[in-house]
């Protein structure tokens, strides 16, 4: 959907040179087609871009190919670069051996929990900062800003200790809540609220709407685009987080898929590495976030760019 829209703009943009005043649309297109000569520069650009896409896609293609081969095909020389027929059995075996169902459910809970939690608490605090005058507002704002400078590695041991004291090791709360503070999301909502005309809040007040009603019935409906954009970016962040889940989960039950995958790789020399199964596991681990980007591309780009300002 988003693609169709952007493409249209690009196409009209490219046709700017064609006379378009009172001419009917069909005629314009026809005219433009006659004028166009083979454009070698454009062709080169297309070729170069296609090459870039191919280079970027190759590792994924290779992983996919390996995931469909039997182990003797995987280790044969020269390497086979075409898919084989073992896709179903490899994926079933990798699914069974890694406990994939549980891993994927855990990752989904963590990714959605982190994304929704961050968005919710950031909306509330941005709302408080923009629509209320209260002592300590500046302090709150700057303390949120400071979290930007405290990524997980600089506070890892004590955070682990705090989560342990709360009894949150191996729990979903432990996996999500410590990641929920978000300076970028708070700034994004604050920026957005500041662009909303004052009259809206005035009108709401005249109608007797309290602040919570205003937040729920006015601001929330206006914020969907920002919420969707943030959600995509934060979902991917949550899904792919490695350090934190590795530390605070010790039971197989609570592992996320990015961590669980490492388990498929044998570290001792005695085991034969089943690379086809490892690649099948990798495909299953990367599919959900990549699918989210592909299907929500417009939101993803908006979220990436706007949340970083």
């Amino acid at each position: 959907m988003s693609d169709a829209r952007t493409t249209t703009t690009v196409v009209t943009g490219g046709a700017v040179a064609a006379p378009r005043m009172a001419t009917p649309r069909v005629a314009t297109v026809e005219l433009e087609r006659q004028r166009r000569r083979p454009d070698w520069g454009n062709l080169l650009v297309h070729l170069a871009l296609a090459a870039c896409v191919a280079v970027l896609a190759f590792p994924l293609y290779y992983a996919f190919v390996i995931s469909t081969q039997a182990i003797d095909e995987v280790i044969q020389k020269p390497p086979r670069l075409l898919p084989s027929t073992h896709l179903v059995e490899n994926y079933l075996e990798a699914w069974r051996r890694s406990g994939m169902a549980r891993l994927l459910v855990n990752s989904a809970i963590v990714a959605i929990g982190v994304a929704v939690g961050k968005i919710a608490i950031s909306m509330l605090s941005a709302f408080a900062i923009v629509y209320f005058r209260f002592r300590g507002a500046g302090l709150v704002f700057w303390s949120i800003f400071l979290t930007l400078m405290l990524p997980i590695p600089v506070r890892i041991l004590p955070t682990y200790e705090v989560v342990g004291n709360l009894g949150w090791l191996n729990t979903y709360a432990g996996l999500t809540v410590p990641l929920m503070a978000s300076a970028t999301a708070t700034f994004l909502f604050r920026q957005f609220y500041l662009t909303i005309p004052n009259e809206l809040a005035e009108a709401a007040q005249l109608d007797g709407a309290g602040p919570l009603r205003f937040l729920w019935s006015f601001l929330l409906p206006l914020s969907w685009a920002n919420i969707a954009a943030l959600f995509v970016v934060l979902f991917i962040y949550g899904w792919n987080e490695y350090f934190w889940p590795l530390l605070i989960t010790t039971s197989e039950e609570m592992r996320t898929v990015v961590i669980g995958l490492e388990r498929l790789i044998p570290r001792s020399g005695t085991e034969l590495p089943t690379w086809n199964l490892i690649m099948a596991g990798a495909m299953m681990a990367l599919l959900p976030p990549v699918a989210v980007i592909l299907f929500m591309q417009r939101w993803f780009v908006k979220g990436l760019i706007e949340s970083e300002k």
Binding site: S143, P158, E161, V177
Partner: protein, 293 residues
């Protein structure tokens, strides 16, 4: 501009409470505790903390391994930043030509960002696999050099740098495309009228106009490489061979959680804190849009 505000004494505090609680409990308290631990000697299995001043830092700064991890971090960060920023700019400039199918290309270039660096690392691990991987296989026709990441430190470093850059390129492409599309068409048309060729347009117009974006991306990529790259190291090389890919974050984890040397690990946290504060300051110093309250 004066904004309408809701008159309410306690509600705003209630609204900021969740965020403030999370920041205090999981950010400020632990960060403070890191500072505290870094100047104490704490027995890992309980007992009294003993104040030892800067001894933990002195021990680190005289430790050859720590220097190696700092150097590895810089090599890793420079590699990832260099490849993904320069690559991102080149690809974005290509994609920004007035051609059909821009949206399709953008999608086709962005998706690797969804792949966790650790998962990318596992895929690259097999591509680099000394016995079965496709890269050593093809290189064996060109050179007799043993291209084995399990034995050669720099090959292992190249592996994790390439895997990380692969996932991160799309991020930079997205930002560069947004920046390029903000360049007014009139500027480019003027250059066309003046007869500037593509190379000249790139060096004389695009690079200077895009430099704020470039600067921003360099900082963000550095921060990413320094602080979010534990996964790829842990999943693929475990810091090896030897300690050739042991970056600062990995060493911090190893010393703290495997070696149980809490004081040293905390001191490493504090040093990393200084790094991230420096990088963030740099970013906001030069950012076009400053955050003001």
């Amino acid at each position: 501009m004066k904004r309408t505000v809701f008159p309410n004494r306690w509600l705003p505090y209630l609204l900021v409470l969740p965020q403030v609680l999370v920041t205090i409990v999981f950010f400020f308290w632990p960060a403070g505790k890191s500072l505290y631990l870094s100047v104490f000697k704490s027995p890992p299995f309980g007992g009294r903390d003993v104040f030892i001043g800067l001894d933990n830092f002195v021990a680190l700064l005289t430790d050859r391994d720590y220097y190696d991890s700092v150097l590895n971090s810089f090599v890793f960060a420079a590699g990832v930043t260099g490849i993904s920023v320069v690559g991102g700019l080149v690809v974005a400039v290509l994609a920004n030509q007035k051609i059909r199918g821009l949206a399709v290309y953008r999608t086709a270039l962005l998706w690797p960002y969804g792949i966790a660096p650790a998962v990318a690392g596992i895929i690259f691990l097999f591509i680099f696999h000394p016995a079965y991987g496709i890269l050593p296989y093809f290189l064996s026709f060109v050179t007799a050099y043993e291209f084995n990441w399990l034995l050669k430190g720099w090959v292992a470093m190249a592996l994790v740098i390439l895997a990380t850059s692969w996932t991160h390129l799309g991020y930079n492409i997205a930002f560069f495309l947004a920046g390029l599309q903000a360049i007014p068409t009139s500027v480019m048309e003027a250059a066309n009228v003046d007869g500037a060729g593509p190379v000249r347009k790139f060096t004389a117009i695009i690079v200077p106009l895009i430099s704020p974006v470039t600067f921003y991306l360099v900082v963000v990529n550095m921060v990413f490489a320094f602080f979010n790259s534990f996964g790829v190291i842990h999943a693929v090389t475990h810091g090896g061979p030897g300690n050739a890919t042991e970056i600062m974050v990995f060493k911090l984890w190893k010393d703290g959680f495997v070696g149980l040397n809490l004081g040293s690990s905390a001191a490493q946290s504090v040093i990393l804190m200084a790094v991230v504060i420096g990088l963030t300051m740099l970013q906001f110093r030069f950012a076009e849009k400053k955050v003001t309250y």
